[in-house]
């Protein structure tokens, strides 16, 4: 009888282990919003191209945008961005330079989800624009806010606001 009781308890508690949920908040996309320096409201920039160090190609934008997701170079601890934009006042193209540094932390989420790299301690190492406001120093995304087929900026933590 005692053995049967112990066997029963073993079965009961054998199912007490779960490995958590597969919610991946890791991303290598830095979220930047553009604001008007005078009114502090959204400002749509006419971005044309973006050079990203370490990237295979130059990112062509060719659209007015008030926020953007910029991918960090996952192979290096720094990434240089050169944002080229149309400037009607100067009747030509203007370039803004932004150099950011960060650290990477590896985390195993679950064995089914796998391991991912979290980027944090984000800081500006150089920027030619001085009016920049920092928000989250971690690159995070909320997978529950993904919209299929489009980019949902709301799903990404805001890292910087650049004022023009």
């Amino acid at each position: 009888m005692k053995f049967a009781v112990f066997l029963l308890i073993g079965v009961l508690f054998g199912s007490c282990f779960n490995d958590g949920n597969c919610i991946i908040t890791a991303t290598n996309y830095m979220h930047i919003q553009f604001k008007k320096e005078t009114t502090k409201t959204d400002s749509a920039l006419d971005l044309t191209t973006i050079y990203i160090s370490g990237a295979d190609s130059i990112l062509a934008v060719n659209a007015a945008t008030k926020e953007i997701l910029l991918p960090l170079d996952i192979h290096h601890p720094t990434t240089l961005f050169i944002l080229q934009r149309s400037n009607a006042a100067k009747s030509g193209l203007v370039s803004d330079t932004l150099l950011v540094g960060y650290t990477a932390q590896s985390k195993v989420i679950t064995k089914e989800c796998g391991a991912f790299t979290y980027y944090r301690d984000l800081k500006i190492l150089y920027a030619n624009r001085k009016d920049i406001k920092a928000f989250s120093t971690s690159l995070l995304t909320d997978p529950t806010l993904y919209v299929a087929g489009s980019v949902n900026y709301q799903a990404y933590a805001v890292n910087y606001q650049i004022f023009y």
Binding site: K2, F3, F6, I9, G10, L12, F13, G14, S15, C16, F17, N18, D19, G20, N28, I52, G54, A55, D56, S57, L59, P71, D73, I74, H75, T103, A104, Q105, S106, K107, V108, T110, K111, E112, C113, G114, A115, F116, T117, Y118
Partner: protein
């Protein structure tokens, strides 16, 4: 998680009720507490042995011991575990040793055989190493990346609330189980590698983690426990 807690509470209440009912039937005379230890119980976890034999992804053992001080028991566990876990995008490995120290309180203080239904507390410590290798496929702008990281001399601490049974089967042979509600894990190691599986604890996450030991013991008794009767 909810179902786990329900199982835990239900099993505990069933055994508590059963043993108290047994105690009421026999109505033994009230005993004075004798705080002088009467024996050392040493055992091992059969689940760890079973997993080591049956699985090629886990290697581990655990030795458990306790000494009685009336219905209080000084309990200690020493163990080792190593895991090889295949991830969806790589592999994880860890290996380490751990110990736990704490107190169990036997709620069946009047049992003449010193059978136990206990609640207790443990503080745990682990020294371990871990490594991970995984593949990252980023956006089209960057080439894929294979990452290999190690945490060569990490440590961790945690706390546990325990509940369990120790039942005398024959002479010095005892069987028992220990259910562990583990919480408050802290780890110290490489800042670039967040510990996944802490030997002795389990998966390090914000919520509770559960453990279970199914144990066999031998009790080395050096003193016959006397049930001192109170003079009426």
């Amino acid at each position: 998680m909810l179902s786990t807690i329900k199982y835990f509470i239900s099993a505990s209440l069933i055994f508590l009720a059963a043993f108290f009912a047994q105690g009421q039937e026999k109505k033994p005379p009230k005993a004075k507490k004798n705080y002088i230890p009467t024996g050392l119980r040493v055992g091992t976890d059969l689940i760890d042995i079973g997993k080591t034999v049956s699985s090629n992804t886990f290697t581990g053992w655990e030795v458990n011991g306790d000494v009685d001080f009336a219905n209080y028991y000084l309990a200690a566990d020493v163990g080792s575990w190593g895991k090889d876990i295949a991830l969806a995008n790589g592999d994880y490995h860890n290996s380490g040793t751990y110990y736990r120290v704490g107190i169990d309180v036997n709620l069946l203080g009047k049992d003449p055989d010193k059978n136990m239904f206990f609640l207790g507390f443990r503080a745990g410590h682990s020294s371990f190493n871990e490594s991970v290798t995984y593949h990252t496929t980023p956006s089209h702008l960057f080439s894929p990346l294979d990452t290999t990281l190690t945490n060569p001399s990490a440590t961790g601490n945690w706390a546990e609330l325990t509940n369990g049974l120790r039942v005398k089967i024959w002479k010095g042979l005892w069987l028992g189980y220990t259910a562990r509600m583990k919480f408050a894990p802290t780890t110290h190691g490489s800042p670039n590698f967040a510990t996944y599986d802490l030997p002795g604890y389990g998966v390090v996450q914000k919520s509770l983690w559960w453990g279970f030991n199914y144990q066999v013991f031998w009790r080395f008794a050096w003193k016959k426990d006397k049930v001192l009767l109170e003079k009426k």
